[in-house]
């Protein structure tokens, strides 16, 4: 199925030639990669702690209670405080270990407080809240990056599941036709007339959804988008000679769909993927904004947006999330446009 045809290669070359789409794709992939190791550079857990001659790497391990490092509590160690203590000891000339903190020593969930003023605190290099904090004192940059990871994972998984269902149903409708097609056409019509966000909100006002629950709800109400295209595509391909000959050789419908029709429909699927991801990010942000998305305190852009609108004085909250949203959505759309152009180039006549 993943044989790379010359045609596909040509399309890829064409995609590469569309610079803004190509570079946007790389930037997005890089951001995703960076956000996946966010624990290493933007976290309230230390990277390395040297204490009494032993090295600790708390980033991905179980949490170390404070008494591991000679502090007088058993909840998770406050590494920033530990670092301060050790430095103070060193200055006094005593022997002490050291703590290597990540670049941004704040996690998406831990709250910090300052001596002066109230949260939301403005950006500050001294406290290493480079984009300030939100109204409960959580670091905006941390929540932005972890929220980006959440939004990306969510919309990619959402896209994969809705495409699997949509493509399967669409292919079956086009392939089998007859009463199955007729019945499913009604079903798809019903589904596409259900106001998506409205109904997802109704459902999540009932149950406070977890990540997977929200995903299931959104897939349930949003799978039908691809069926139209796949149905007509399968219908078209089905009457082609190569499908007929495969059929006369005794290939099963499943094999024909998977081996013959799907690879030929790949271009349709691929051109819709970036737009589906952009749509997923927007829907999740909208739901989170309204308070019907992922449960708090999950870091999410919608929740940040809500806080930003509530506290417009704290420009760094709304400002950073809006800038991020605009950048990411624009880049995803750039990719989408480039893919579309690469797969379906249009040449225009220009009158001089």
């Amino acid at each position: 199925m993943f044989y790379i045809s010359p045609r596909l290669l040509r399309r890829f070359e064409r995609f590469r030639a569309i610079k803004r789409g190509y570079y946007s794709l790389w930037i997005i992939l890089a951001l995703i990669a960076v956000s996946f190791v966010a624990e290493l550079w933007i976290n309230n857990r230390a990277l390395i702690v040297s204490y009494e001659g032993r090295l600790y790497f708390p980033t991905y391990t179980e949490m170390y209670p404070g008494n591991t490092f000679g502090l007088d509590y058993v909840h998770e160690t406050d590494y920033l405080e530990l670092q301060k203590n050790m430095r103070a000891k060193k200055e006094k000339g005593e022997k002490a270990g050291w703590v290597l903190m990540p670049l941004v020593p704040h996690g998406p969930l831990d709250t910090s407080s300052r001596e002066e003023g109230y949260a939301p605190y403005p950006p500050s290099i001294k406290y290493q809240n480079y984009l300030g904090t939100d109204s409960t004192g959580r670091d905006v940059l941390a929540r932005l990056i972890y929220g980006f990871r959440m939004a990306m994972v969510f919309s990619i998984v959402l896209m994969v599941f809705s495409y699997i269902i949509g493509i399967a149903v669409g292919c079956m409708m086009g392939f089998f036709g007859g009463w199955f097609d007729l019945v499913m056409q009604r079903v798809v019509e019903i589904w596409s007339n259900v106001p998506f966000l409205y109904v997802v909100m109704i459902v999540s006002s009932i149950i406070v959804p977890s990540f997977w629950m929200l995903l299931a709800i959104m897939v349930f109400f949003g799978w039908q988008g691809m069926t139209y295209y796949m149905r007509s595509q399968t219908y078209r391909e089905r009457s082609r000679l190569y499908v007929l000959s495969a059929q006369s050789l005794g290939a099963s419908p499943l094999r024909i769909i998977l081996k013959h029709i799907l690879p030929n429909s790949l271009s349709i699927i691929v051109t819709f993927i970036p737009f589906a991801i952009a749509g997923g990010i927007s829907s999740l942000t909208a739901l989170d904004y309204l308070g019907y998305g992922l449960p708090p305190p999950t870091p999410s852009w919608g929740e940040l947006l809500d806080q930003g609108v509530e506290n417009l004085d704290a420009w760094w909250v709304a400002g950073s999330v809006v800038v991020m949203l605009v950048l990411i959505l624009t880049m995803v759309t750039f990719v989408g446009e480039a893919v579309r152009e690469a797969f379906d180039p249009k040449k225009f006549t220009v009158y001089e």
Partner: protein, 344 residues
């Protein structure tokens, strides 16, 4: 496009409508925290003398404040004592005579609740629809003729942002920049408090003073899609043989565009034309929530929050009917402007 076709399409709408409403009706039915629980909560907090901080899972409520009979009465009043399909049938029966029931939040007929928000929504719907057409068609034409010039590229940036960024994020951006920091525009609402005392001219000014930012947020989404549609279809037509023929015959470029190419390029716009039928309920609840506009969208949102299911169902029924009619209307439009299209 025959009358029989239209009638068949109208008949096909019925199962779709039933499917959509039944699905949502069933969802609202399996929900804890419906109007009965809300009434219980109110009664209980009244009895306790303090705000009942009950969780959304209303099951945990002790029915202390109300007797069993009273709860039973409440259930009957809201129609929760019957199975889903029976109460759905009752809802439908009332709907046939255009009765949407009573709002459980405002204690008034749903129609009255909806009628209250209609003027605001109609204003926004109508103006943003007009704006969209008045801007998109000329802009699309200019962009097609001046393809790959500075003007085209510059407007493309704006269009692209409108295309990539959802309206509610644009709304947040506009509100924080222009109404909060620059204080050029009010931060929300439909009219000023002293609206009644203003003269006619001042009233109009006041209205649009409040409406500018929301209108931009509303229009920007459709603006991008429609302008590009107009541009692309005009460019397709400019490349077509019949325009080349017209040019070869000696028509000036202007005539070739406006007399020949433009008319055919408007056809794709007709495919969306039917959706304008729902202009007066088109308000997005996100934008209305941000600008605090008391319109149709915000009503829908608040009804979900307050679990006012008769209103939720009423809004759903109205928008569903309008959407289905809009689809049919679009098809009729396309068939009437493009004789090649035959719906049978």
């Amino acid at each position: 496009m025959s009358a029989a076709y239209i009638i068949r399409r109208l008949l096909l709408m019925i199962p779709t409508f039933l499917g959509v409403t039944l699905m949502v009706f069933a969802i609202t039915r399996f929900v804890p925290g419906g109007p009965v629980e809300r009434a219980l909560q109110e009664a209980q907090s009244m009895a306790d003398g303090e705000g009942g901080e009950a969780s959304s899972g209303g099951n945990e409520l002790r029915a202390g404040a109300l007797s069993k009979d009273q709860i039973q009465m409440l259930n009957e009043y809201y129609g929760f004592d019957k199975p889903v399909l029976v109460s759905y049938a009752l809802w439908l029966k009332k709907l046939v005579v255009l009765d949407l029931g009573d709002s459980t939040r405002w204690y008034e007929p749903v129609w009255q609740t909806i009628a209250r928000v209609l003027p605001v929504s109609t204003f926004y719907g109508l103006v943003s629809m007009l704006l969209a057409y008045l801007i998109c068609i000329p802009l699309g034409i200019i962009k097609a003729i001046k393809h790959r010039t500075t003007l085209d590229s510059l407007s493309s940036i704006l269009i692209f942002i409108g295309y990539a960024i959802p309206g509610f994020i644009v709304a947040v951006l506009l509100m924080s920049c222009f109404s909060f920091y620059l204080e050029w525009f009010p931060s929300g609402g439909f009219i000023s408090d002293e609206f009644e005392d203003l003269g006619v001219f001042a009233k109009v000014i006041d209205l649009f003073y409040h409406a500018t930012l929301p209108l931009i947020a509303y229009t920007i989404g459709s603006f991008a899609v429609m302008t590009m549609l107009m541009k692309n279809s005009l460019m397709d037509n400019l490349a077509a043989d019949y325009v080349r023929t017209a040019m070869a015959k000696g028509f000036p470029f202007r005539t070739a565009v406006f007399r020949h190419a433009l008319r055919n390029s408007l056809i794709p716009l007709a495919t969306h034309f039917g959706s304008n039928i729902s202009f007066f309920i088109g308000g997005s609840f996100l934008i209305e929530q941000i600008f605090d506009i008391d319109g149709f969208g915000l009503l829908g949102f608040e009804s979900i929050v307050e679990r006012d299911y008769p209103v939720v169902m009423g809004i759903l029924a109205i928008s569903c009917v309008l959407q289905l009619l809009g689809n049919l209307l679009s098809d009729i439009c396309v068939a009437s402007v493009d004789p090649r299209v035959q719906f049978e």
